[in-house]
Amino acid sequence: MKTIDQTTDEILDLAATHFNFPRAELVATDDFYRKLGIDSLQALELLTRLENHFGVELPDYEVQGVSDFHTLATRIQARL
């Protein structure tokens, strides 16, 4: 079982890689919409990448309103 910190780190790595953003500038408390500047289609892309990476289902309504990486990690932890 991954720890919440491990899950958060993996999300940050994935976000940095796929949105071409410097990893060192991302932290768990970041608002990823603002920090990455992503739109609705990219938000869906992130959701799909997270599902594929962690092998979980993340219903849209469970991540709706979530905007920081740490809370996103808690949602994923609950599905692992």
Binding site: L41, E45, L47, N52, D60, Y61
Partner: protein, 267 residues
């Protein structure tokens, strides 16, 4: 007509396979212009069916297969008229799109949707007319219509029920959630999952395989196993049109058109 290039799509026939490419920015929204082009395709289909074995539907838009009905156009057109006239216009549109989709659904060709990215609402319903859905791992399927106070109107509920059962229909319809290709594979919606960007290549490989079989036999098998749920499709149009006249629908459309949020397809 073996080749065509319209405003919103193009098609060509080569080596026994017809490829229909959707290409209307930003995400292949299905409005009047695409409906016109789809009707042209359906008019050409009888001739294509005598020369081909398979049909591939795919998208040339990066965003995905299709984001569904053009809700902005629907809202703007409806704003120009009273409720009764808008409802009549919607019924005419639905009758036309059902005519197109029913014809592709029952084509003698083996039909394959090669899906990437968003495959939502009416776009999902377009994919569902195909015999096979081949999706890349970034594809995402969703029926977001309930947020607008509507049901899917392009035949999606009867077709999904026909193909994989009522439980999956209820899940997608009543929650409005989206699912990825892997989930789609697990419930029988998706036939094959391809790597990112590889759905069209996988669809071409599958289409080539179908060209090896006797056409009449393939067509007979399809006719036997894939009946058109005609009564339910008619019922769907009636329910959609009844719901459409409610003020909540216009309010839902307005919110959607004006929404700039990250999940505009969810309430």
């Amino acid at each position: 007509m073996d080749e065509y290039k319209g405003k919103t799509l193009s098609w060509h026939l080569a080596d026994g396979v017809v490829e229909l490419a959707l290409n209307r920015p930003p995400a292949n929204e299905i409005g009047l212009a695409m409906l016109d082009d789809l009707e042209r395709f359906v008019a050409a289909l009888p001739a294509l069916e005598t020369k081909a074995s398979a049909l591939i539907l795919h998208s040339e838009q990066k965003a995905g297969f299709s984001a569904g009905a053009d809700l902005r156009e629907l809202y703007e057109e409806a704003q120009k008229m009273d409720t009764s006239s808008a409802a009549k216009g919607v019924r005419i549109f639905l009758e036309r799109i059902h005519g197109v989709l029913n014809r592709i659904d029952t084509s003698s060709l083996t039909t394959i949707a090669a899906v990437h990215g968003v495959c939502f609402g009416g776009g999902f319903e377009l994919a569902l007319v195909c015999d096979l859905i081949i999706a890349d791992k970034m594809a995402r399927f969703c029926f977001p219509e309930l947020r607008l106070g509507l049901i899917p109107g392009f035949g999606g509920i009867p077709r999904l029920k026909r193909d994989i059962g009522n439980g999956v229909v209820r899940d997608l319809l009543l929650t409005g959630r989206s699912i990825n290709a892997t989930k789609g594979l697990s419930v029988g919606l998706v036939s094959q999952v391809a790597a990112e960007g590889e759905a069209l290549r996988a669809a071409r490989s599958t289409a080539t395989q179908t060209t090896k079989f006797d056409r009449a036999t393939s067509a007979a098998a399809k006719h036997f196993i894939k009946p058109l749920p005609a009564d339910e499709l008619r019922c769907e149009i009636d329910i959609f049109c009844d719901l459409f006249t409610r003020p909540a629908v216009m309010e839902g459309l307005r919110k959607f058109v004006e929404n700039t949020g990250a999940h505009p397809y969810l309430p």
